[in-house]
């Protein structure tokens, strides 16, 4: 699909992709609607447990509108959804949106830490491997990145927690901040709050709490980023334009930074976008191991308690987030490589 000369390709892309979100979310909402209604014994039984009296079940059905015809239920549900009303958590009795808003910053802080860790180590590691291709450095990097993929996230989390928190006692075992610290909170971003209020000890403590879960969460993206960087640098360093640059007598450092690295980053950017989805799944496991109060841990609690309004809201929220992230990745493509105008 070739854009007309008068249109801005990027705007067109954004428009098209945002339009595509509508059928995606619509389809997802139908699946989720069907899902809650197909819970074993119906949602009311799921809520109250197997031994609920018929009267209690009827009361819950009336309260949640489960006794209405399915079509009517669906329209009520969609209507609320479109107004941003995801319902009320069965466990905490607070609106799902509020619960998310309160916990999401924690997951954002954790994810940012994880992705910074993954990029800061993964790209140099992959680059280092590519520069020493076929030698022991390369083998080390390849084995490390392989280990990163095959070790389950929560097992890695266990190992880190056991070694650095339980055995060595260097880092905190769980939570987001030492409860003994009397920190002022304007937002739910603890590190940020500590920095803007000047309570640097609070900020530092929050950072320390991020280290282990952040490393656990960041390891899979790290491994994948290292692999992609390695492969991509190997591809690019033999490209014609690199040979031309060498023939022109450009400084090796300039060739490395401006020619090889910049061009090799294109596949890495795509991978990074895809990793963010993995990060969200990983957060569910990592936050659970470290009792880190973000949306991941909230979700795993919701699974245990079959808190379906939360599960439903979470999945729609994640799908939306994931799609938007991928859109941003596709746009950033064009920024890195002007030749790419995604169709």
């Amino acid at each position: 699909m070739r854009p007309g000369p008068e249109e801005t390709p990027v705007l067109r892309l954004i428009g098209r992709r945002l339009l595509l979100l509508i059928p995606t979310l619509f389809g997802l909402s139908i699946l989720l609607f069907a899902w809650v209604r197909s819970l074993p014994g119906g949602p009311a039984t799921a809520l109250l447990g197997d031994r609920a009296t018929p009267e209690a079940v009827a009361r819950v059905n009336a309260a949640y509108g489960f006794d209405k015809p399915l079509v009517e239920q669906y329209f009520t549900y969609m209507g609320k959804l479109l107004q941003g009303d995801f319902g009320t958590s069965i466990v905490t009795n607070r609106p799902v949106v509020e619960e998310f808003a309160q916990r999401f910053p924690a997951t954002v802080e954790l994810s940012v830490f994880a992705i910074v860790f993954a990029v800061a180590i993964g790209i140099p590691l992959g680059y280092w491997a590519a520069r020493h291709v076929g030698r022991w450095q390369d083998d080390v990097a390849v084995v490390l990145s392989l280990l990163g993929v095959v070790v389950p996230v929560f097992f890695l989390a266990f190992l880190l927690k056991w070694l650095f928190a339980v055995k060595l006692g260097w880092l905190p075992t769980d939570g987001r901040q030492d409860p003994r610290i009397d920190a002022t909170h304007y937002t739910d971003f603890y590190v940020w709050d500590g920095l803007i209020t000047g309570e640097y000890d609070a900020a530092w403590d929050a950072i320390l709490h991020l280290v282990l879960p952040g490393i656990a969460l960041g390891t899979i993206p790290l491994a994948i980023i290292a692999r992609i960087t390695r492969a991509s640098v190997l591809d690019v360093q033999n490209a014609d334009f690199v040979r031309t640059a060498r023939a022109k007598g450009l400084a090796p450092g300039l060739i490395r930074n401006r020619f090889i690295l910049r061009n090799a980053m294109l596949p890495v950017t795509t991978t990074l976008g895809l990793q963010l989805g993995l990060l969200i799944s990983g957060a569910v496991l990592t936050e659970t191991v470290f009792a880190f109060n973000g949306i991941g841990r909230f979700l795993s609690q919701a699974i245990f308690q079959l808190d379906f309004p939360v599960l439903q809201g979470f999945i729609i929220f994640i799908a939306l987030l994931y799609s938007l992230i991928n859109l941003v990745v596709d746009i950033s493509y064009g920024l890195i490589d002007p030749r790419v105008r995604v169709s």
Partner: protein
């Protein structure tokens, strides 16, 4: 995406019987990527390359060991998976570790179960989950991918939209949601992991089939007047299976890890003392400070098994597509 395989010239349903009759012999003349001049097939050549790749040998050895242990579990394991040969319940501080109690080389767990036996039975549980879920994902994904790749047009559009919806949720979360609907049974976990894999297989088979679309052998088959179904099923599909088989091998690794993750999140049901690696890891969590090996051993088993399938899958990919090989 428009038509994937252009209809054969004048190829209406009425002519299909005639087309089929012309087929034998004719197809032999075309060179499919499945054979080269010396008569070794792609798979034969790939096997030759695999044998020379140390990573492939290590991977295959791990996988073979895993399969052996899983299949021979009833013979190898000293005790049944849920048996509690030790005392009924043991206080975490009194749990005997590896080598601390005669007759139980890897010690006991809190439930009084023999850790070695449980690890062996756990291999069987993992194999079952891995194979059933991957078979499910493969079957579903291939059906969708085949529909999209064969018919193109609106069928392709509809199928791929569904696949996009499924892909808009990270696959572990998809598996978690499905397992939560299906209820607390081990079967639910298998189906959930399988369904979560469907979109990946569907996409892969479709794009692999699309890349075959313009091939000379497809053109030749069309010129011979073969029906679309014959071309798709006996020519395009077999030649498109390489990436799918590679993905299936890699997926076995993910399935083992995902099954443990689902178990860790409390899905899959069954009793707490069930001999399953993910379950063992989950229950070891509480006593990580006191009895760390209870977490290390099953975790190591998961990682090694995943490593085996990953090495095998990656080497298979390199062997089938020599251009992707490490330089």
């Amino acid at each position: 995406m428009s038509m994937v395989i252009p209809p054969s010239p004048g190829g209406g349903p009425a002519e299909e019987t005639v087309d089929e009759a012309v087929a034998p012999g004719g197809t032999q003349a075309t060179t499919e990527p499945g054979a080269d001049a010396r008569g070794t097939s792609v798979w034969g050549a790939a096997f030759q390359r695999l044998r020379r790749n140390p990573a492939a040998i290590v991977g295959a050895a791990i996988v073979a060991l895993f399969l052996l242990v899983a299949v021979l579990a009833p013979v190898l394991a000293p005790y049944a998976g849920t048996a509690t040969p030790g005392m009924r319940e043991i206080r975490p501080t009194d749990v005997p570790g590896p080598g601390e109690l005669a007759g139980f080389p890897l010690g006991l767990d809190r439930f009084g179960g023999d850790v070695l036996s449980k690890l062996i039975w756990g291999a069987q549980a993992s194999l079952l989950i891995g194979v059933v879920s991957t078979a499910f994902g493969l079957a579903g994904g291939m059906l969708l991918g085949l529909l999209a790749g064969m018919f193109g047009g609106w069928v392709d559009a509809v199928v791929m939209r569904v696949v996009d919806i499924l892909l808009s949720v990270p696959h572990l979360l998809l598996a978690v949601s499905i397992a939560a609907i299906l209820g607390q049974t081990p079967f639910a976990v298998m189906i959930a992991i399988g369904v979560a894999q469907i979109p990946i297989f569907a996409r892969l088979l479709r794009s692999s089939m699309l890349s075959q679309r313009g091939s000379d052998y497809v053109l030749a088959a069309q010129t011979l007047g073969l029906s679309r179904r014959t071309i798709t099923m006996s020519h395009v599909l077999p030649n498109s299976m390489g990436p799918v088989i590679v993905q299936a091998t890699l997926t076995l690794a993910t399935a083992v890890i995902d099954a443990a993750a689902l178990s860790f999140l409390g899905l899959g049901g069954g009793r707490p003392e069930t001999a399953e690696w993910g379950r063992m890891l989950t229950y070891a969590q509480a006593e990580l400070g006191i009895n760390p090996w209870l977490a290390f051993l099953p975790g190591l088993c998961i990682a090694i098994t995943a490593l085996g399938f990953t090495l095998l899958g990656e080497s298979l990919r390199e062997a089938l597509d020599p251009t992707s090989r490490r330089r």
